[in-house]
């Protein structure tokens, strides 16, 4: 029965050929745990896509709602915090596994042979993943998201085009709701589409060139991908699941208080993988900033991408390639040093340390608060008008008079009118204050014709009532 179904499926789809091509790929020297990082990255990316889609069930990309909806996910929705944590920690996991994947490629000289484009497509994927992390960071619209992005979008320091690029990225001069829209579109539509395309290219180029195997050919014979390498890949995936699941369960990702642009004390600190760059920028003040922010990183990135072209020849043993391996190791050491240095500076300055502690406490306090649903604008007009009225003693008195004199019977409880009387909203725009007082006390002919009665009230009450009517919105 199963056999017949499998035969039918194979006739329709050629599935056996596909499976054969996928599973029986030869691995020179046999399966190894050194080769699990590529499939681990694919696994993590798919996990990000799935969790991202589910988070989008509740997330709203606008400055008014982004923070509330993320808070709703974190504090109210069942498993919301867990799924978001998998997504947040997943982005860090991708960077870690990506670095391991790159380190393995460089050490093994796996970019040699007809694999230049394979390497370049990987470089593009690296950049796309960093862009995903960058755009995703803003979306919760909490304090650290807001201020970190405000700083990081300021790095477009190039003369002439710099300000233009910055405004393009931000959707204006300031960070705001248009910035969220832009980052959201990049994060969920543009970048994932590009990543899918480049992953397909990367895998195709990899399969075309074949696995490169260890730098020193192992004496063991080649082995097909299935079953041992697949088991290793899946063991690694299971390890990733366990690690992410444990983190998400026991130290769920936090959400800070909503972004407040007026906060002048907030010290933004980027996600750990951007800390070295953050620290690097400290050394490039004013007029030389463009060198540090643009020129040097561009040269480093280009040299990195050009690695297979610079390190040519067939030698793959790392100890025989001191320049390429050494340069990459030096770059890595420099980045780690910058990161450590940043931490040290934050700790050594008491004012900074205190502020960072205060920020951490604020995040914790916010996380401990119960979810506060957002007041929706339109339907709350009544409540808002009342609140505004109460805030001012004069208008509060006026609101009371409005009820006592039964103005609400015709003009509605909030002055928005009813079947028997017109709305009073905007009356202040049509009349001066003196005029308004006068016609409230002694209606015009037209007003009395439609049923408005003269009011017999004290001057104080009349002034209060006029103030109340004037502020109706």
């Amino acid at each position: 029965m199963i056999r017949r179904f499998a035969d039918w499926l194979d006739r329709q789809t050629g599935i056996r050929g596909l499976l054969h091509a996928a599973l029986d790929e030869p691995i020179p020297g046999g399966a190894s745990f050194a080769y699990v990082f590529g499939s681990g990255l694919l696994f993590l990316f798919i996990s990000q896509v799935i969790t991202g889609v589910f988070l989008a069930l509740y997330y709203v990309p606008s400055a008014d709602h982004a923070h509330t909806t993320v808070a709703y996910i974190v504090k109210e929705v069942s498993s919301g915090s867990f799924v978001r944590s998998i997504h947040v920690y997943g982005s860090s996991a991708i960077i870690i596994v990506l670095l391991l994947h790159i380190a393995q490629t460089i050490l093994f000289g796996s970019y040699k042979g007809p694999r230049h484009l394979l390497w370049l497509s990987g470089c593009v994927l690296f950049a796309l993943m960093l862009a995903m992390a960058f755009t995703g960071y803003l979306l919760p619209w909490d304090q650290k998201a807001y201020f970190a992005t405000a700083v990081s979008t300021n790095i477009f320091v190039l003369p002439v085009v710099g300000p233009w690029i910055k405004a393009f990225v931000r959707g204006g001069n300031e960070l705001g709701t248009l910035t969220i829209s832009r980052f959201f579109v990049a994060h969920v539509f543009v970048l994932p589409a590009l990543i899918f395309a480049f992953v397909a290219t990367h895998v195709y180029l990899f399969r075309r060139a074949g696995a490169s195997g260890a730098p020193v050919p192992r004496r063991t014979a080649a082995e097909s991908f299935y079953p041992r390498q697949l088991v290793m890949d899946m063991a690694f995936a299971a390890l990733l699941v366990l690690a992410l699941g444990a983190l998400a369960q026991w130290t769920p990702a936090e959400l800070g208080p909503e972004a407040n642009a007026a906060d002048t004390h907030f010290l933004p600190r980027p996600e750990w993988y951007y800390v070295p760059i953050f620290q690097w920028l400290k050394y490039w003040p004013g007029d030389r900033a463009v060198v540090g922010i643009f020129v040097i990183p561009t040269i480093v990135a280009l040299l990195f991408a050009a690695l297979p072209f610079l390190d040519h020849g067939t030698e793959r043993r790392p100890w025989r390639r001191p320049w390429s391996v050494g340069a990459c190791a030096a770059l890595m050491i420099a980045l780690v040093t910058l990161g450590v240095r940043s931490r040290e500076q934050d700790r050594s300055d008491p004012a900074v340390a205190r502020q960072l502690d205060a920020q951490r406490d604020a995040v914790r306090a916010y996380m401990a608060e119960a979810f506060e649903p957002q007041e929706s604008a339109g339907s709350l007009r009544v409540a808002n008008a009342s609140l505004a009225a109460v805030a001012n003693p004069l208008t509060a008195r006026g609101q009371k008079v409005f009820g006592e004199q039964s103005c609400d019977v015709c003009h509605g409880p909030d002055g928005h009118g009813s079947d028997s009387g017109p709305s009073l909203v905007g009356a202040a725009a049509r009349h001066t204050e003196g005029e308004l007082s006068r016609i409230i006390k002694t209606p015009t002919q037209k007003m009395s014709d439609s049923g408005m009665q003269p009011l017999d009230i004290s001057d104080d009450d009349l002034a209060a009532l006029t103030a109340y009517v004037s502020m109706l919105k």
Binding site: V77, S79, E223
Partner: protein, 179 residues
């Protein structure tokens, strides 16, 4: 690069299919476990009542002491709509009960949810959508609605009439609270 040759010590077919079954089972198990939080997240709205309705104020009780005809009252209730709070205006009718105390009827037609109006000339409630007709006390007189107008919980507290606004399932003969 050394020439790629398949090992002669290739795993036997039995071992290959055993590992295959192991992989399939492992994947299915892990996949099922991972699907649980996603399912919970997706189904979350089904498990929570969308509204949190408390007692709403319908006005001074003395206004309803000597009713000769149903009075239309508008109340404002606060509802939860996912992550937001909305205030919405709801119409209801206060009628005189047999014991003289005010009874409160929802203006939502139990047929398909149109707003029922009081027709002063006919002294009947009439639903404008499908001609459901109700007596002044809300009992069904004619038309497609499956039951009379829904009575809401009401009480008098501190001289004011308080109402608990609720929604009821439509198109069923008995009153079932849905929110």
């Amino acid at each position: 690069m050394s020439e790629v040759t398949f090992s002669s010590a290739r795993p036997t077919e039995t071992r290959r299919s055993f590992l295959g079954a192991l992989i399939a089972m492992g994947t299915a198990t892990v996949g099922a476990i991972l699907a649980i939080p996603l399912a919970r997240l997706t189904l979350d709205p089904l498990w929570r009542t969308t509204t949190q309705i408390l007692w709403s104020d319908a006005g001074p009780a003395k206004d309803f002491a000597a009713l000769t005809a149903p009075v239309r009252v508008q109340i404002t209730i606060e509802q939860r709509d996912g992550w937001r709070k909305v205030l919405s205006d709801k119409a209801l009718y206060v009628v005189k009960g047999s014991d003289g105390r005010p009874r409160v009827l929802s203006a939502v037609c139990p047929h398909l949810g149109c707003s029922i109006g009081w027709n002063e000339d006919r002294r009947q409630f009439v639903c404008p959508c499908h001609n459901g007709v109700f007596a002044a006390d809300g009992t069904l007189m004619s038309g497609p609605p499956p039951r009379g107008m829904d009575e809401l919980d009401a009480m008098v507290e501190d001289g004011r009439l308080k109402v608990r606004y609720q929604y009821f399932r439509q198109l069923v003969p008995t009153k079932e609270i849905i929110a």
